[in-house]
C-alpha cells in the first residue's frame, strides 16, 4: 500500500507541477473576458478560421428542407471557402443572411451591400443608382460607392464610376430557384481602387438570383447564388 501510494505521489506530484506550469504559461483566470497576450504570439494566419470547405449538395438539400426562409450560397474563391446563409433579418429592402458561425451578408434585391465577420468586411455601399439600372436591365453610367475599414479603423470610401450593360438572357436553375434571367455586366473604375467587373443574373421581377460581385481587395470576387427565395 505504502509503496503504491509513494509511487502515486511520485507520478502525481510532477503531473501537478506540469499542470501548474502549463496553466502559468498559458494563463488562466476566472474572468470569462480574460485574454492572454501569448495568443498574439501565434500568428493570426495560423489561427484564422479554416476555409469552410465545399458545400455538398446534401448540405444544400438538408438546409432547404429545414427552412422556408430565403437561403443563399456564398463562395469566396480567393479563400477557398463557401457558406450557406439563411435570412435572419429584414430591414426595409435590406435582407441580412447569416450562418451559425455568425458571419453575415446583407443584400438588397440580391446585391451585396455589406458583410460582417468575414474579415476585411465591406461595411456599406451607395448602391441605389447601380441597383436601379441592374434591376431594370438597362444600360447606363452610374456612380457607386463602397466603404471599408482600414487596419487603422478609419473608414475608407472608394467611389467608382460604373458602366452597366445587359448581356444574354439565360435560364437559371439553382436550388429551388428556377427562372429566366438577364445577365447584367457592370464594369467599374475608380481612382482610389482597382477596377472590377461584376456579373448579375436578374429575374423578370428585378431580383438578382446570382452574381459575381467585387467586395474589395481583402475578399476579392464573391459568388452568390440564391437557392430559395
Amino acid at each position: 500500500m505504502g509503496t503504491i501510494l509513494a509511487m502515486n505521489l511520485r507520478t502525481t506530484l510532477p503531473r501537478i507541477g506540469l499542470l501548474a506550469l502549463a496553466s502559468v504559461l498559458t494563463g488562466c483566470s476566472n474572468d470569462p473576458y480574460f485574454e492572454f497576450p501569448v495568443q498574439s504570439i501565434v500568428p493570426t494566419s495560423l489561427r484564422q478560421q479554416e476555409a469552410n470547405g465545399e458545400i455538398t449538395p446534401q448540405a444544400i438539400v438538408q438546409t432547404l428542407s429545414a427552412t422556408d426562409l430565403p437561403v443563399a450560397f456564398l463562395g469566396v474563391p480567393d479563400r477557398g471557402s463557401q457558406a450557406l446563409l439563411i435570412r435572419i433579418e429584414q430591414n426595409g429592402p435590406y435582407e441580412t443572411f447569416a450562418n451559425p458561425d455568425r458571419q453575415s451578408v446583407t443584400m438588397r434585391h440580391g446585391m451585396i451591400t455589406g458583410t460582417r465577420g468575414l474579415s476585411g468586411d465591406l461595411m456599406s455601399t451607395e448602391e441605389e443608382a447601380l441597383l436601379d439600372l441592374i434591376r431594370a436591365r438597362r444600360a447606363g453610367q452610374v456612380s457607386y460607392i463602397q466603404r471599408y475599414l482600414t487596419p487603422e479603423d478609419v473608414t475608407e470610401v472608394v467611389t467608382y464610376r460604373c458602366g452597366v450593360e445587359p448581356d444574354a438572357t439565360v435560364d437559371v436553375s439553382i436550388g429551388l430557384v428556377q427562372d429566366r434571367a438577364t445577365e447584367m455586366v457592370a464594369a467599374c473604375e475608380s481612382p482610389d481602387g482597382p477596377p472590377f467587373v461584376d456579373y448579375y443574373k436578374v429575374s423578370g421581377s428585378g431580383e438578382i438570383l446570382a452574381s459575381r460581385q467585387w467586395l474589395g481587395e481583402n475578399l476579392g470576387y464573391v459568388a452568390m447564388q440564391m437557392l430559395q427565395r
Binding site: S23, V24, L25, G27, C28, S29, N30, D31, Y33, F34, E35, F36, P37, V38, Q39, S40, I41, P43, T44, R47, Q48, Q49, I88, E89, Q90, N91, G92, Y94, T96, A98, D101, R102, Q103, S104, T106, R108, T113, G114, R116, G117, S119, G120, D121, M123, S124, E126, R147, Y148, L149, T150, P151, E152, D153, V154, T155, V157, N218
Partner: protein
C-alpha cells in the same frame, strides 16, 4: 545623447507583446518602404538619403559594420518628419567608460523633408544626426535624392560634423567641442558649423526584392580609428539588400574597403498592419419595428414584469456580444442601459453592438436609447440615439448615425442598482516579463516569471486589487552598477528592489471612484501604489463629454516601500551609496495636468507640479495616436533641478510606444501593451507611477474618442 550610461534605464512594467506584434503584423504596404541604412534611418549604407518612409512607419533596425553595433527605433512622425532613437555599442573602443572594451552610446536623430520628389525635382531633406548629448555620431546634412530611371536612385548631399570629416572642401564657422550640461541637451552650438564634406551614392533595384547600393561616405570615422581597431581604407562602400514578403530588409555590405556589415530592418505600420475590420463575428442586425407598432403601450401595464424579462434577455444577448449589462431602466418611450465593456478596444463598437441588441429586445414604443458606459462602476457618458435612426441608417455610411447621436455628461445618471451582485472576485495567473535596458554591464536584462493578480470589487466603485510576482528565470537581480545621486534616491535605488524583491507585491490598493459634480471625476487610491512607494493618491479630473480639453489634479502622500517588495515600509530617507549623504524624500508630491486632443491623431499633455524628489517642474508629452489603439509619443521633464544635480542626461526624457493586443490577434481587445523607453532613469523629474489614473478611462467614452472609432459602430 548621453555617452555611456552608468545607470540602467527605468525598467518598464507590464507585459510586452510588443516584439511579437512587430514581427507578426507587417503586411503589404501600399507605398514603398525605402531602404534603411545601418543607422536605422532611410538611407544607403552609413549615409542618409532624402527619402521618407510611408506615414506612421515604425522601423526596428539592427545594423552592424565592423565593430559597430547599432539598434534603432525609427518613427515616421508625419509624412515629412521622422525621428530615430538608437543604441550603439562599439567594440574594441578605448575609453574609460567602455565595459569590456565596448563603448555604449544612445543617440537621437530627426529628419525633415523640405521638398517632395516630383518628375523633375529631387526630394530634399535636412537632418540632425545624434543631435542631443555628447554627439558621438553627431552630424548634420542636407541631402537630395532623385529617381533617374525605374529602380535607379541617386543621392547627393552635404554634411557637417561627422558627415563633414572626410575630404571636406570648405569650413563654415566654428564647431564647438564642449558638451552642454551633463549631456542629454540639444547640441545647438554645433549644428551646421565647421568642416563641410560631400557624400552621395546610387541604389539600383532590378526588381521588388533586390537592391544594390554604392555609397561615397564623407565620414572619416576619426573616433573609431583613433580609439578602436578601425581602418578607413576607402570612402566607398557597397552592398546588396534583400526585401522579404513582409517588407523586412536584410542588407549585406562591404564597407570602407576593409570590413563587412549587415543591416536587418523590420518595418511595421499602425495604419496598414493587421486585418482590416478584424476577424470577430458579426453583431446582430437591427430589428426594424413594424409600422404603427411604436404606439403600442400595452406592455406598460405591467412595467416591472416586462423590465425583469427584458433584463434577462438583454443580459443573455449582450453576453453573446461579450458585453455586460449593468442595469436597464425602462420608460414607456425611453430606455437606459448601463454597460460594462470588457471586450472592445473601439468604444463605438461596444456602443453599436449594444444599440442593436436594444433594438431587438425593447418594446416597440421605446424610441429613445440611452447607453451609459461605466468604468469601475462610474458612469462615463450618456450616449443617446433614436431607435428610428438606427433602423433607417443601418446600411448607410457610419457617419450618418454619428451625426444623429449625442454624447453627454452622465453625471447624476448613475444606475440605482446593479444586476450583478457584489462583492465580485476576479483572479488571473499568467506569465510576465520585465526588463531593464541600457546598462553597459549588460545592455538588456530580462526577468520571466509568474504573476497572480486579483481584484475584489466590494461595491461597484470600490475595488481592492493586487498583483504578486515571482521570478522564474532572469537576471534583473544582477544589476551591480552604483552611481552617486545628488538628489534623494527616489528611483536610482531600483537595483535594490530588483535584487531583493522575489517574490514581490507589485501593487496592492484599495480604490474608490466617484463623480463629485458634473464634468468631474474622482479617484482615491490607498495602499501599495507601485513597486517603490506606498501611500495615498487622490485625483480629480474635469472633462466635459464633448471636449478635447481636460484638466486634472493629483495629490499623493507617499512612504518608501521596503526593498523586498512585501508589506514593509521604510522612512522617506535614502542614503547615497557613493557619498554616504542622507537625503529626505518629501511626503507629498502631486501635479496639475492639462490634456488636449489636437485632432488628426495628435495628443498633448502637460503636467506641472512637484515630483518625487521634491523638485518642481513640468512634463511635456506629445503623442500620435491611432484609432486602433497604437500610439507613439515622446516626453521631456524640466524641473528646478540643475543639470549638475540631475546628473547624466541633464533632464528626464523618453519615448513611449503602445501596441494594442488586437494588433496581434485581429480580435477586439482592450488590452494595451505600453512601453516607456527612457535613455536613463535618474532621480530628477520622477513621477509616482499610479496605474489607475482617470484620464484614459474617462476619455474613452467621450465624444472625441468615440467619434474617432465610429467606423466600427456597425462592425
Amino acid at each position: 545623447m548621453a555617452a555611456v550610461s552608468s545607470h540602467r534605464a527605468k525598467r518598464v512594467g507590464a507585459l510586452a507583446t510588443a516584439g511579437a506584434a512587430f514581427l507578426l503584423t507587417s503586411s503589404a504596404q501600399s507605398e514603398t518602404i525605402p531602404s534603411y541604412n545601418t543607422y536605422g534611418s532611410p538611407g544607403l549604407i552609413d549615409m542618409p538619403t532624402a527619402e521618407m518612409a510611408p506615414d506612421a512607419t515604425i522601423g526596428l533596425t539592427y545594423g552592424r559594420i565592423g565593430d559597430s553595433n547599432r539598434a534603432a527605433f525609427s518613427f515616421q512622425i508625419t509624412p515629412w518628419l521622422s525621428g530615430t532613437f538608437r543604441y550603439a555599442g562599439i567594440e574594441n573602443f578605448d575609453d574609460p567608460s567602455s565595459v569590456d572594451g565596448v563603448y555604449y552610446d544612445r543617440s537621437f536623430d530627426v529628419r525633415v523633408q523640405l521638398l517632395r520628389e516630383t518628375r523633375l525635382r529631387p526630394a530634399v531633406a535636412i537632418g540632425l544626426q545624434d543631435f542631443v548629448g555628447t554627439g558621438l555620431y553627431g552630424g548634420e546634412y542636407i541631402v537630395a535624392t532623385k529617381a533617374l530611371a525605374p529602380g535607379l536612385r541617386v543621392t547627393g548631399g552635404l554634411g557637417w560634423g561627422r558627415l563633414g570629416s572626410y575630404n571636406s572642401f570648405t569650413t563654415i564657422g566654428e564647431r564647438s567641442e564642449v558638451i552642454l550640461g551633463e549631456g542629454g541637451v540639444p547640441t545647438y552650438d554645433r549644428w551646421f558649423r565647421g568642416d563641410v564634406g560631400a557624400f552621395g551614392g546610387i541604389s539600383w533595384s532590378p526588381n521588388d526584392k533586390l537592391t544594390f547600393e554604392l555609397e561615397y561616405s564623407s565620414d572619416a570615422y576619426t573616433l573609431e580609428s583613433a580609439r578602436g581597431g578601425f581602418e578607413h581604407k576607402s570612402p566607398y562602400s557597397f552592398g546588396a539588400q534583400y526585401r522579404f514578403d513582409n517588407d523586412a530588409q536584410l542588407g549585406l555590405y562591404y564597407a570602407y574597403g576593409d570590413t563587412l556589415g549587415l543591416q536587418l530592418t523590420f518595418p511595421t505600420n499602425p495604419k496598414t498592419s493587421g486585418i482590416p475590420g478584424g476577424i470577430e463575428v458579426a453583431g446582430v442586425p437591427v430589428k426594424r419595428r413594424a409600422s404603427g407598432s411604436a404606439s403600442d403601450l400595452g406592455w406598460t401595464a405591467d412595467l416591472e414584469a416586462t423590465e425583469r424579462s427584458i433584463e434577462q434577455r438583454m443580459t443573455t444577448n449582450l453576453s453573446r456580444e461579450k458585453l455586460e449589462l449593468v442595469n436597464v431602466e425602462l420608460r414607456p418611450r425611453s430606455a437606459t442601459v448601463w454597460l460594462r465593456n470588457p471586450t472592445y478596444g473601439a468604444p463605438a463598437q461596444a456602443i453599436g453592438r449594444t444599440a442593436r441588441v436594444m433594438s431587438r429586445t425593447l418594446p416597440d414604443s421605446v424610441e429613445e436609447f440611452i447607453i451609459v458606459p461605466t468604468e469601475n462602476g462610474i458612469p462615463m457618458s450618456a450616449v443617446t440615439m433614436k431607435r428610428s435612426d438606427l433602423e433607417a441608417l443601418e446600411n448607410d455610411a457610419a457617419v450618418e448615425m454619428l451625426a444623429r447621436t449625442s454624447i453627454t455628461d452622465a453625471y447624476g445618471r448613475g444606475t440605482p442598482e446593479d444586476l450583478v451582485t457584489f462583492p465580485r472576485f476576479n483572479w488571473v495567473v499568467a506569465p510576465y516579463f520585465d526588463y531593464s535596458g541600457f546598462d553597459p554591464d549588460m545592455p538588456l536584462r530580462i526577468d520571466v516569471g509568474a504573476r497572480v493578480a486579483a481584484s475584489y470589487e466590494i461595491r461597484r466603485n470600490v475595488v481592492l486589487s493586487g498583483e504578486l510576482r515571482k521570478r522564474v528565470i532572469g537576471n534583473l537581480d544582477e544589476i551591480s552598477r552604483e552611481s552617486e545621486s545628488l538628489l534623494p534616491r527616489v528611483r536610482t535605488d531600483y537595483r535594490l528592489y530588483a535584487d531583493e524583491g522575489d517574490p514581490f507585491i507589485r501593487y496592492l490598493t484599495l480604490e474608490l471612484y466617484g463623480r463629485p459634480a458634473p464634468e468631474l471625476y474622482s479617484r482615491v487610491s490607498v495602499g501599495y501604489l507601485e513597486r517603490m512607494y506606498a501611500g495615498v493618491s487622490g485625483e480629480v479630473l474635469w472633462k466635459p463629454a464633448d471636449s478635447r480639453l481636460a484638466f486634472g489634479a493629483e495629490l499623493n502622500y507617499v512612504r518608501r516601500r521596503a526593498y523586498d517588495g512585501l508589506f514593509g515600509l521604510e522612512e522617506n530617507v535614502t542614503v547615497d551609496p557613493v557619498s554616504g549623504i542622507e537625503r529626505e524624500i518629501p511626503d507629498v508630491n502631486g501635479h496639475v495636468s492639462g490634456y488636449y486632443a489636437f485632432g488628426n491623431g495628435f495628443h498633448g499633455q502637460v503636467d506641472v507640479g512637484r515630483y518625487l524628489a521634491g523638485d518642481y517642474g513640468a512634463t511635456f508629452t506629445l503623442t500620435r495616436e491611432f484609432a486602433n489603439g497604437w500610439s507613439v509619443g515622446a516626453f521631456a521633464t524640466f524641473t528646478d533641478v540643475t543639470e549638475e544635480e540631475f546628473g547624466e542626461g541633464s533632464f528626464d526624457k523618453g519615448i513611449m510606444l503602445t501596441i494594442p493586443l488586437s494588433a496581434g490577434t485581429s480580435r477586439p481587445s482592450r488590452t494595451l501593451s505600453r512601453q516607456t523607453i527612457r535613455s536613463l532613469q535618474r532621480d530628477g523629474g520622477a513621477r509616482l507611477d499610479v496605474s489607475s489614473r482617470l484620464y484614459d478611462q474617462v476619455r474613452t467614452w467621450h465624444e472625441p474618442d468615440v467619434s474617432n472609432t465610429w467606423g466600427r459602430f456597425w462592425r
